[in-house]
């Protein structure tokens, strides 16, 4: 009789479980891909000794949509919309990373106003992403009210995104060379209103969790990783900073003018779930600080580069300039060519280092795009983090890694 598919799967993973599982001393348990606490479609094969995790084998790819392959057949401008769909909690950050890579490849300058708006929007995005993380992480650990509070504030940020781009999530607002449109009237006031109210809200979340014995018991000394191990395993972002290494690409390799703003890089000491929580909460305040500064000295001027070889001319020019019509036609039919060569750009996404490796071949379409995504790197270390913990804590550890499966699988 042919083996059932379940046996085939376990057979294939035989070399990863301990010999005790094969003898039947421990239990193999399938968790996900439809499990609510796996933050998407993550499947884990757990080997359990009673309630304690012996090994955990992540199985990813359920959300693999071939984004990198799809981008190869689109022009540089068209390919941008694919990036929205990758990490769906960091749409503007993905737009930005891809645009920075394109701009580096074709040597395109971005006007200061666009740079500042990019910073404001990606920091708002960081706040909204952290809010989803906090909401679901707390919900996993049975704190229902935090979830509702966080989603309340996230709506305000999504409204701001809708204001600029017409879309709550799939924004495609940041374009190679600058932005799609200038900021709409009333945007600055709306952001200021949000900034005024938000710090008190963060304090509200903190009052519900930071000293809550139930929350602290479930997070302290859970999922510990040392600083050396975190580096060896390629962790970045809050996962690395929670272990005490203050690497932040906004500081280390500033882009979009981050060097002009004053902000701190919060770090933890123990590298456990609780410290990662503290780091992300502190980052919320830092993002507010950055947005405040960027708003206060938001420069005027153009919102997109005027280099007509890469950026389409405004509508108003088309009526009286033949050259503008030619550029418009060329850019919207065949796109702009990029030289032969490869660039790598690293930015700080809410989760960690988001890198874009972009290869041009002289034509108008990217020859190869690769995204180095933080969720992929962080999922890999899950077996190490969860070893020896209870199944119930595994849920908290997944939450503290702040993974987005769309980001991991692309």
């Amino acid at each position: 009789m042919p083996p059932t598919s379940m046996e085939v799967t376990v057979d294939e993973l035989k070399h990863l479980v301990s010999p005790r599982a094969l003898a039947g001393d421990t239990m193999l348990l399938n968790m996900g891909p439809q499990h609510p606490s796996t933050h998407g479609v993550l499947r884990l094969l757990l080997e359990l000794d009673g309630e304690v995790v012996v090994t955990c084998i992540p199985d990813i790819g359920f959300l693999h949509t071939g984004i990198e392959k799809n981008m190869e057949v689109k022009t540089y401008t068209q390919a941008l919309v694919m990036t929205d769909r990758m990490d769906y909690l960091n749409n503007l950050g993905n737009n930005l990373t891809y645009c920075l890579a394109v701009e580096k490849l074709v040597e395109l300058d971005v006007p200061p106003r666009a740079q500042a708006v990019r910073v404001i929007l990606t920091e708002l995005q960081r706040i909204s992403s952290h809010l989803v993380w906090l909401a679901t992480h707390a919900l996993d650990l049975a704190a229902m009210s935090v979830f509702l509070y966080c989603f309340r504030e996230r709506e305000l940020i999504l409204d701001l995104f809708e204001m600029v781009s017409g879309q709550r999530m799939m924004t495609s607002y940041i374009r190679p060379g600058g932005l799609w449109r200038d900021l709409p009237p009333g945007f600055e006031d709306a952001v200021r209103r949000f900034l005024k109210a938000f710090p008190a809200r963060i304090a509200e979340y903190e009052s519900m969790l930071t000293k809550n014995p139930l929350f602290v018991d479930r997070t302290r000394r859970i999922g510990v990783i040392s600083a050396e191990d975190a580096l060896r395993w390629g962790l970045t972002g809050p996962m690395l900073r929670g272990s005490g290494i203050g690497l932040d690409f906004r500081k280390a390799q500033p882009y979009s003018g981050y060097e002009q703003y004053e902000f701190d890089v919060p770090t933890g000491t123990h590298g456990d779930t609780y410290d990662r929580y503290l780091v992300r909460m502190a980052e919320l305040y830092q993002s507010v600080r950055i947005i405040q500064q960027a708003l206060d000295r938001l420069p005027g001027g153009p919102f997109i580069s005027s280099n007509r070889k890469f950026v389409p001319p405004p509508r108003s020019e088309l009526g009286h300039s033949m050259e503008a019509v030619i550029h418009h036609f060329k850019l919207w039919t065949e796109g702009f060519p990029a030289p032969k060569g490869a660039v790598y750009v690293a930015t700080e996404s809410p989760r960690g280092e988001l890198g874009c490796y972009l290869v041009g071949d002289g034509g108008p379409k990217p020859y190869r795009v690769h995204f180095r995504t933080p969720s992929f790197a962080h999922l890999q270390v899950l077996p190490r983090l969860s070893k020896g913990h209870f199944v119930a804590d595994l849920v908290g550890i997944i939450g503290s890694a702040d993974i987005v499966l769309g980001d991991a699988d692309r």
């Binding site: 790819g61 390629g234 490869a342 660039v343 790598y344 180095r372």
Partner: protein
Amino acid sequence: MSHVEYAAAMLREKFGDRIPAVEEFRGQTTVVIDRGAIRAACQLLHDDPRLSFDLLAALTAVDYWPEEPRFSIVYQLYSLQHNIFLGLRVPLLSSSPEVASIESVYPNANWHEREVFDMFGVTFGGHSDPRRILMPADWVGHPLRKDYPLGYEEVQFTFNAAEIDRRKAYAKE
């Protein structure tokens, strides 16, 4: 001499003609390395305190089909201490798409190498867990290869699945 140049010079000194070229593009340095030397080069870059590239930031591949050498495996290393990125590139011929795994130096290469294997069919010698990672385990073909079609596939139903399967040449390598 910038620190990136220093690292490239040190690799050159140590590996000599196994480093055919050092590429400069848009201010980024990529050292081209013979596939036999990649693990030793990574070991040197990681261990030497003057270099200390302690983070493997990215590992991916590019398919230049039908040109030869067809594949390029690309590594992006980051040094926390010196705050620099260094790219490494290993060209591979289509006749033997195989390179040594650097898992022993950078453990996180494990999944990245599995992804490259899954998407390009490049195998990594000495890899501890050489399985597919994103595609289903029984998938045939490697989607990110340039000779792998994108879309325009006939939809397979139970009555014509076998017939369409016979026409799919690329899936049968």
